[in-house]
């Protein structure tokens, strides 16, 4: 009983220490457990896979460095998928810091696809302030909203952008965000222009997006590292693409921490009930 009491009142720094151990060990000794694919992740995969010639996929990096560990793996995997299927990609951000992340992501993926060229296979758009207004601008004419690309080249002179005018030519717009930016995309791009919108969000924000999935305002969603791991497995299985599966490695750590928390919660409840019985 004394032990349970001590357990109940233990210094929270012990919990922090055990959490740290549970995170670090799976990174050193990966288990590689398979991840079950959920429909929201599969829907994004299929939509990208069925993108027709003449249409592009738009990736909006609407996040800053803080949520990088959780969102970066999914952006890399989707970019890999697009390049592998020869789908042209527009990269942009509604956040000033997001452009830097998009640039780093491009550099990362281009190591696998060095033949991909700016303006032909992908276009990086500069940061334009305005949030929702930028989305509305794309809905009317992307050339007016972004007269040049990130590097200052006139957008009209880029071969892949000549036939892209608005959401009509964008097969899918995916917003990666740690906050509620995906809702802004739903409200403006989907509701107003009928664009296909998907979201890549942090795990904590995933629950908030389920209503939009049910109403088909979002065609799919990747929720946190789990969603990214699902996508990595789909890409690996269907395209036989061998890349570093950062999210899958992270999922081992997540498994360990979840199990640790479940054990702690169960033990805390046992201690709580034991304490209550003793009081009676």
């Amino acid at each position: 009983m004394n032990l349970l009491n001590k357990f109940m009142n233990m210094d929270r720094r012990w919990i922090y220490l055990i959490t740290a151990i549970c995170v670090i060990i799976p990174f050193l000794i990966p288990i590689g457990l398979p991840t079950y694919t959920t429909p929201p992740a599969r829907n994004i995969y299929e939509k990208i896979d069925n993108t027709s010639d003449g249409q592009v996929v738009l990736l909006s990096f609407d996040y800053d460095a803080a949520v990088l560990p959780e969102l970066y793996p999914m952006t890399i995997t989707i970019l890999n998928h697009c390049f592998n299927r020869n789908i042209k990609v527009i990269l942009m951000s509604l956040y000033m810091q997001g452009i830097g992340i998009a640039q780093v992501a491009l550099e990362d993926v281009k190591r696998e696809f060095p033949e991909k060229k700016e303006g032909i296979d992908y276009t990086l758009l500069p940061y334009v302030p305005g949030g929702a207004l930028v989305i509305l601008g794309i809905g009317e004419d992307i050339h007016k909203t972004f007269p040049t690309d990130y590097y200052g080249t006139l957008i009209d002179s880029l071969p892949m952008m000549r036939e892209i005018r608005n959401f009509d030519q964008i097969s899918l717009a995916i917003s990666f965000s740690g906050g509620g930016v995906s809702r802004t995309w739903v409200t403006y791009a989907n509701q107003r222009y009928g664009a296909n919108v998907a979201a890549g969000v942090t795990a904590v924000m995933a629950a908030e997006n389920y209503p939009y999935l049910q109403t088909k305002q979002l065609i799919g969603m990747l929720g946190g590292l789990k969603g990214a791991a699902e996508y990595e497995n789909l890409v690996e299985k269907n395209l036989k693409l061998k890349t570093r599966k950062a999210a899958c490695i992270g999922m081992d750590a997540q498994s360990a921490v979840h199990i640790m928390m479940i054990v702690f919660i169960v033990l805390a409840n046992i201690a709580y009930f034991a304490g209550r019985r003793r009081k009676k």
Partner: protein
């Protein structure tokens, strides 16, 4: 009387924007553009006020040698040094400024975000107790979702279709609760907007001028 002007402006502005919402004509669009541009214009002087505030607070701290005044010096030094680096060597790719962003700002922000993992563990340990029947239900559902959202849980209980159960929990009970709250919030936002427009709600003006 001091409040009459802002209140009238608020009422007229609100009514005009409601009317604008129903008109797709380009006059309406141009008007809306203008309003948004003014919003951005107003934001810039506000930023100056914000930075004046932070400098004032820290300058006072240094001047009066209040506890921790040394950290206030670090703020001034950091702001000046980073700004100078940006001005002198530029902010392009591979610049020192970008290196500072990449290897200091990004890592510090990611560290703060990562703290959530530790805090979640300790908060769950402390709070998840089956004290009442409702709390017990919440606890069981939480355990199922936690277990079903990671590969180890999926692998162990795949035959029991645990991932499908988790997806169902998120898709239906979770969503029902969210929509209930969402509906109330939506109505609350509308009612508050209306009360502000009509001058019934004045707390945001400081509460005076009743």
């Amino acid at each position: 009387m001091r409040r009459a002007g802002p209140l009238k402006l608020c009422l007229i502005g609100g009514i005009v924007m409601i009317i604008q919402f129903f008109i797709p004509h380009r006059f309406s669009k141009n008007f809306f553009d203008e309003v948004v541009h003014w919003l951005i214009v107003c934001g810039v002087p506000a930023l100056v006020i914000g930075y004046y505030s932070i400098f004032h607070v820290h300058w006072t701290k240094i001047r009066r040698k209040r506890e921790g005044w040394g950290y206030s010096i670090i703020i001034f030094v950091a702001v000046i040094v980073v700004a100078l680096i940006g001005f002198i060597w530029g902010v392009g790719e591979n610049s020192v400024f970008m290196k500072i962003y990449q290897y200091m700002t990004m890592t510090m922000q990611a560290t703060m975000f990562s703290l959530l993992g530790f805090y979640m563990a300790s908060a769950a340990f402390r709070s998840f107790k089956a004290r009442t029947p409702e709390a017990t239900l919440l606890l069981i559902v939480a355990l199922v979702v936690m277990f079903g959202r990671v590969p180890i849980g999926e692998s162990v209980f795949i035959k029991l279709k645990l991932p499908n159960l988790v997806e169902w929990i998120l898709m239906y009970p979770n969503m029902a609760a969210q929509r209930g709250i969402g509906l109330g919030v939506g109505l609350g936002i509308m009612a508050t907007s209306l009360k502000i427009m009509l001058g019934i709600e004045r707390g945001w003006l400081g509460g005076a001028g009743k």
